[in-house]
Amino acid sequence: MTVQELPGSAAAAYRPTPPPAWQPRTDPAPLLPDAEPYRVLGTEAAASADPELLLRLYAELVRGRRYNAQATALTKQGRLAVYPSSTGQEACEVGAALALEDRDWLFPSYRDTLAAVARGLDPVQALTLLRGDWHTGYDPHVHRVAPLCTPLATQLPHAVGLAHAARLKGDDVVALAMIGDGGTSEGDFHEALNFAAVWNAPVVFLVQNNGFAISVPLAKQTAAPSLAHKAVGYGMPGRLVDGNDAVAVHEVLGEAVARARRGGGPTLIEAVTYRMDAHTNADDATRYRADSEVETWRAHDPIQLLERELTDRGLLDDEGRQAAAQAAETMAANLRERMNADPVLDPMDLFAHVYGRQTAQLREQAALLRAELDAEEEAR
């Protein structure tokens, strides 16, 4: 039946009314990031920063840089299969990790060994994955550090789920998920942020925008005004922070963690920083970026920025500098020594943890390997 054929009475009875009034579900204005990354060092706000915190951050930054250098050296000696360095990004790693309480959880990516170590993880255990003797060298429950995650952004939904579960249990636990700029293009980034916002989960997402995903610059990764702006689409606040300013990172992270803890929901933080080293020891950064660009960032070095502030305020002298350097050197020497010892591996472990309840199939295969090992032993 066409409209023309409708009985006149029915057409006359139809009274159009406007649809229910539309309004945005959340006011987007307060969610928007500031126009510029938040800074403390070099601004008036620095004067009120807690001296104890500044010194703690400084010691950790110096230690972190030394750790990166030592780990990179270990790759050259064949002691590590690969190392993705976070040199230049130490303020993000340390500032974020120190914003967490003991009971909170960290969900690091493969570049976030420093954050894990800053949370108390054994520096050697943190490198197990990269040494290649096992995929994770530590029990995640001990320091509440999830395994260093290799597939990009896939650990973000884990952080959301854990935070959600903690809230359901009534625990005031916050999860911090760390990711790089390239990872924000992954579908799991989107799904994790969406779930977090819908569930109002106590989780904080920290994106270290270090300029590159291996060789691909941010401009080829996104057309968003900033990565922090992506938050608005999910209904959570986005924050921009200078990722080389450890005090600013610590403060912004601390606020987001506190907000999550009191039931205020998730936050997306973009820390603007720069990856001073190549992607890993196996990468050649000269193929895709100019030295002049690297030099520009060298003049905005996270350690120097903090050192300048500490020196200006009379909180750090040569003696203090040397003490921090010496502590870092001791850590590096210890790391070197322990990493130079060959790990003791039991090939039978290959079958030990695939299932909680071993299958007959794997028992058969374990017996096969056992026989091979015994034959090797006998031949020796």
Binding site: T154, P157, H158, V160, G161, L162, L168, A192, G356, R357
Partner: protein, 334 residues
């Protein structure tokens, strides 16, 4: 036992009851997925759970399978026991990375430090007149991933028992629900459910002496019917319902094949690279000297799942099973 206790129940009802009982017994069991709450699932398998246990225990999630399974991983890390529903077989594919890179590997990655007691329920298989993406048999993908258990019931009773066992398992289980059997009925008492066996055991559904049909899930009723029809041809067929593809019950399967000397594997999944190849190889490796004929496979064709008006030509039916049985070199047996 009262008369009321053995009135017919459907497989969907048995599955619902399994989740309900698990949730009542264990407060860490959480059901989550698309439409599982208010609606009770598109197949009504989670009917009433949100009402009884609240939306925090039976949660309507955003429509994002990787997000559903990825958040379930985090929940399991914090001590919960998630039961995840993927709405349809082919809609589970976005969750593949979480399943393969994390759910299956987390225990191994952490040397047993982090178990993943997650049950992933996936309605699978065809025969319901579904349009594209609603009828896949995706079990081979899951079987090829170490760290997962892969389980599928064929009866109302097993639907309850196997789902209870899967939820109780500290290892992750891909629980494949044959959707065309959702409304199959059996006399089954929800008040006196069968003992929950550990997963990994096949069962002989029908004893026979001539040949063994090795099958699972939606093809079990097909094989039972074929065995019935085969009597007229003088074949006394044994039907083994595998129930669990991982772990695989070599013991029950090989005991049967050694008795009968002949075997046909029957499943809906495509034949090339499908479960039947693995099963036939295992049987041949273990029972070679007992075999009177090569192990044959009756499987779906190696084509994308057909449109509903053509699916009957694709699905292994009674005739195709009997044709395979006829090819088991009987002439040599005289």
């Amino acid at each position: 036992m009262t008369t009321a206790a053995v009135k017919p129940a459907t497989m969907a009802q048995a599955l619902q009851r399994a989740m309900r009982d698990a949730m009542a017994e264990d407060p860490t069991v959480h059901v989550m997925g698309e439409d599982v709450g208010t609606l009770g699932g598109v197949f009504r398998v989670t009917d009433g759970l949100a009402k009884e246990f609240g939306e925090d225990r039976c949660t309507d999630t955003p429509l994002a399978e990787a997000g559903i399974l990825g958040t379930a991983v985090g929940m399991a890390m914090y001590g919960l026991r998630p039961v995840v529903e993927m709405q349809f077989d082919a809609f589970a594919y976005p969750a593949f990375e979480q399943l393969i890179s994390h759910v299956a590997r987390m225990r191994n990655r952490t040397r047993g430090g982090m178990a993943m007691p997650i049950t992933v329920r996936v309605p699978y298989g065809g025969g319901i007149g579904g349009v594209e993406h609603h009828s896949d048999s995706s079990e081979a993908y899951y079987m090829a991933t170490p760290g997962l258990h892969v389980v599928t019931p064929a009866t109302v009773e097993d639907a309850y028992g196997l789902l209870r066992a899967s939820i109780a398992s500290d290892d992750p289980v891909v629980f494949l629900e044959p959707k065309r059997l959702y409304w199959s009925k059996a006399k089954w008492s929800p008040d006196a459910p069968a003992a929950v066996e550990p997963i990994g055991r096949a069962v002989v559904r029908r004893s026979g002496r001539s040949a063994t049909l090795l099958t699972y899930g939606p093809s079990v009723p097909v094989c039972m019917e074929a065995a019935q029809a085969a009597e007229a041809e003088g074949w006394d067929l044994e039907v083994v319902d595998l129930r669990s593809l991982v772990p695989f019950d070599d013991e029950t399967v090989c005991a049967s094949v050694r008795r009968t000397g002949r075997a046909v594997v029957v499943h809906e999944s495509t034949g090339f690279g499908g479960p039947g190849g693995e099963i036939a190889a295992r049987v041949t490796e273990r029972c070679f000297h007992h075999l009177e004929a090569p192990v044959l496979r009756v499987a779906g064709f190696d084509i994308p799942y057909p449109p509903p008006m053509l699916e009957r030509h694709h699905l292994p039916g009674v005739d195709r099973v009997l044709d395979a049985v006829a090819r088991l070199q009987w002439e040599a047996a005289s």
